[in-house]
Amino acid sequence: MGQSKSDVLQGTLDLMILKTLDTLGAMHGWGIAQRIRQVSEDLLQLNQGTLYPALLRVEQKGWIASEWKVTENNRRAKYYALTPDGKKQLEAEKLEWERFAGVMARMLNATE
C-alpha cells in the first residue's frame, strides 16, 4: 500500500481522468472515482475530494466538457465527457508517459 494519499501527481490524476472518460464515455465524478479505485485494485487510494479540482482544471483547459444529467437511479449529476481536444491530449500524454515509464524501467533494471 506504500502510497500516501497526497502523493498522487497532479498530471497523473489528470491523465487518469482522461483515460477513464475515454473508456467509459460520459461519467459523473463519483463514477470516475469508482473506476480509478477499481482499476488500481485499491492500490491507489486517493481522497475523492481532490478529484473535483482536477476535473475543473481539465475542463478549463477544454479537454473535457460537462453537462447535468439524470443517473439511472434518478439522481441529478454532472456528467463529464472527453472533447476532441481531450482525445488528442490523451494520446499525447499516453505516449509521453509510456516513454517515461520505459526510461524509468531501464534505469532501475540496469546492472552495472
Binding site: 459523473h28 475523492q48 475530494g49 475543473l56 483547459k61 439522481r75 449529476a77
Partner: protein, 890 residues
Amino acid sequence: MTWLRVFSARIRAMLNARRLDRELEEELRSHIEMETEANIGRGMSPAQARRQALLEFGGISQTAELYREGRTIAWLEALGEDVRFALRGFARAPGFTAVAILSLGLGIGVNVAIFSMINMLLLRPLPVPDASRLVVLGSQQKGGFPMPAFAYADYRDIREQTAATFSGLLAYYAGLDGLSAEGHADRIMTHYVTGNYFTLLGLQPALGRVILPSEGKVEGADPVLVLGYSFWKARFASDPNVIGKKVLINGHPVTVVGVGPRNFHGVQALVDIQAFLPLSLASSSAGFPSLSDIRSIRNLYVMGRLAPGVSLDQAQSKLKIVSQHLAADHPNDLAGVTITAQPQISGKIPNGEGLPAAAAFFLAMAALVLVLACINLANLLMVRAGARQKETAMRAALGGSRIRLVRQFLTESFLLTIFGAVTGVFLSVWTCSALGTLKAQGVPLYLDLSFDGRVLAFTAGASIFAGLMLGLIPALRGSRTNLAVLARDGGQRLSGSRQRMRSVLVMGQVAASFVLLLVAALLINSLEITRRTDLGFDPHNIANFSMDPHHVGYNETQGRQFYQELLRRVRGLPEVESAGIAISGPLSPIILPMQVQPEGYEFPKGQSAPTVFYDIVSPGFFQTLRIPLVRGRQFRSSDNQNAPLVAMVNQALADRYWPGQNPIGKKILRTPDPTHWLEVVGVLKDVRYLAVPELRQPYVFFPFEQSYVPIQTLRVRYRGATDTAMAEVRKEIANLAPGLPVAGMETMRQQIESSAGFVGLRLETGFATVLGLLGLALALLGIYGVVSYTAAQRTHEIGVRLTLGASAHDIRKLVLGRGLLIICIGLPAGLLLAFATAPILRSLLPGVRATDPWMLSMLIVLLSSVTLVACYIPARRAMRADASSALRNE
C-alpha cells in the same frame, strides 16, 4: 493557447460565481449520496455508510475552497473586492464623493477642452493622405507685409519652375457666392480651384466625380460644381439625384458633378467650404478674369505637395531662386518679394505665429488648475485616511500587508479619477459644443473639436497623472501606520507633521489661484480697454446688411440701378437717419490690399510699388459712420462714370507719401489700371480699419459709381429700436430684389465683437476667467477643508480651554490663526509668482496691458476676504461648541 482558454473560462466563472457555487454544492452532495448508497449496498448501516463516505471524500469544505480557488483569478478577485470596498466607502460619504468627482471633473474637463482647441488649431493635419508633405506658399515683400496670396501669372510661373521640387502646386480663390437652386438663393463660401486640387490632395468624391486636372484652364470653360459634403447634407438633404442638376452660381448655370469627401471641409482652417468650382469660373465671383496675366491682383492661395525625397529646406532654397527670377522679369510687381513655403499644419491659421506659445501658456494654466484639484483631493483623502487610521491599523494588525493597504488606497483614488475623467469629458464636450456656435467676422466658424486619438491620449494621460498624484501621497502616508495607534484610543488625531504638510499645500493653492486670477483679471481688463478704445468713428446705432445682386443674376447695369434705388428708398425710411454702402468698411472681415503709385513718390530701389488698403464707398458712407473729414470734400453723386476719376485718402496715407504737402489735388495710380490717374479730393481722419489695436494703416477710397463692384455692405444709422429698423431695411431689400440673400445682418457693435482681434481676445479671456474662477473655488475649498478639519480635530482641546475659562474670542483666535497664517504666507508667494508670470503673459498675448497696482490690490483684498470667510465659518462652529459636548465627543 491553453492559457487563454483557461483565462476566459475563469473570467466566465467569475461572472457566474453564484450559480457555479450552487452547482458545486449539488455535485458534491450527489457524490456523497452515491457513495453512501454504495456503502449501504456493501452492508453498512445508513449512518455508518454516510460517515464512511465523508471519510473517503476527505473534507467537503476544503475541496470546495480548493475548487473555488481554481475557478477564479486571484488578483482580479482581489481587485473586485477593492472596488466594491471603495464604492461602499463612497456611498457612505456622498458629500466627499461629489466634491471629489466634481473638482476632478472640472480640472480634467478644462484641460481636455483647451487641448481640443489646440488640437484643432495646431495639431490635426488635413484629412488627406500623406498630409505631412503638404506645404503652404506665401510671399514676403521687402519692408512690407507678408502676403499669403499670389496672382495667377505668378502661380503659373512658380509651378513651371518648380516641377522637380513639388509633385504639384494647386491654387484656389476663396469666394463668397450666391447659389440658387429649387427657387431660392443662398450665400455660400466657395473655392475656385485649379483642376489638380482634388487629385493633388489625394481625395476621392463621396458621390459623382471631382474636378479634373484637365478642367479650369480656359476662361469661362467647364461650368461644373462639386458640393461640399456637409452643405450637400444640409441644403440638398443628402439627395443622390443632385448629380447632373443645374444650379445657378451668381446667376450663371453650372452643373453639379459630384460631392466632396465626407470629412473634407476645404484646405482652410476654421471655415467649411460649401462648393468647389474650376478656377476658370472665378470671374463671376472675383469680378475680373481669374486666369489673367495681371500680376498686381493677388488673390490665389497656393499649396504644394513636396516631391518624393525633397525636403522643406530644399524647397525653400528653390523658391528663393525662383523669386529672384520672377523679380528680375517683373520688377514693377515683384521686386524685393521672396516666396516662402511652410508646412500646411503650421500655416493653416493665418497670422498664427504666436499661437503655439499662447497655447502652451493656456495649457500650463489648465494643468495648474488640475494640480490644484488634485491637491484638494489629496487633502480630502488624507483626512479620510486620518479618520480611517484605526481601521488601517486594525487591518494591518489582522495581517493586511502594506502593499495590500496601499493598493486599497490606489484603487479608491483611481476610481475617483475615472469618475472624474468621465465627468470631465462630458464637461469638455459641452464646452466644445458651446464654442461651436462662435461666429467670427460674420461667418459661422467651423470648429471641429471632435475627439480623436490625440485628445483621447491626452485625456488618458491627464487622468492617469491625476490618479497617481492624488493616490500616492495619502496612500504612502496612510499606510505608514503602527499598531500603537490602536492602543491609543484617540486614533483620529493627526500627527503634527501631516498637519503642517496640509497647510503648506493649501498655501501653495492660494499662491497658484492668485496667479490664475491675475491672468484672468489682466485679460478681462485688456478686453475692456479694447472695447473702450476710441475707434475714430461712431459704432452705435449702425446696422449692416451684406449682399451681392449678382447672386441672383443681375448684370452691372442692373446692379448699379439696384444700389442707387436701394439707397434712395432706405434713406426715405423714418427709422433711418443716413445710409451708405462700402465693400469692406472699418473692422470688416473683407480686407482689400492694393499696390498704388502716389504721385511724386519714389519707392526705394529693389522694391515694388507700395501696398496700401482700399475700399469702394458710396456718397454718404463716411457721414453715416461719422468719420470726420480733415480737408477737401466728400464723394458726391456727381462723381460718376462720366466725371473725372477721384479718390479720397486717409491721413496716414497722406503723411506717408506726401509728408508736409497738401494732398488735395495730388494724383494717385492704381497699378491694375496704369492708364488712369485719380485725383485726391478729400482727406479723412484715421480710424481703426483693420483691427482695434492697429498701427495707422494707409487707406485709399474710390467712389462706388466709378469702380462698380457688386458685393457691398449697406450700413444705416438708425433711430429707435434696432429690431424694427433692421426689419424695415430688410423689407426694402426684399421688395427691390426678391430672393436676394442678405448676410451679415448685425449691428456694428456685433460686427466689431466678432472681428479678427476680438474673437481671439474674447476666447482667451473666457478661458482665463473660467480657469481663474476654478482656481479660486478650489483654493477656497482647500482652505475651508483644512480649517474646518483642524477645528473638528481640536474639539477636545477647545472643550478643555472653554472649561478652563477661555472666552469665545480666544477660541476664534485659535481657529482663525491657521487661516491667517495661510493668507500671510500664501498671498506674498502668489504675488511673487504673479510678478514672474506677468511679463511672460504680456509677451505671449499681445492684447494684454501692464499690471497695475490697483488691480493687484483688488485681487489681494478679494482673496484675503474670501479666505477669511472660508476660515470664519468653521471657526464659528467651533465657538458655538459648549464645553461639555466638546469633551463628550472624545
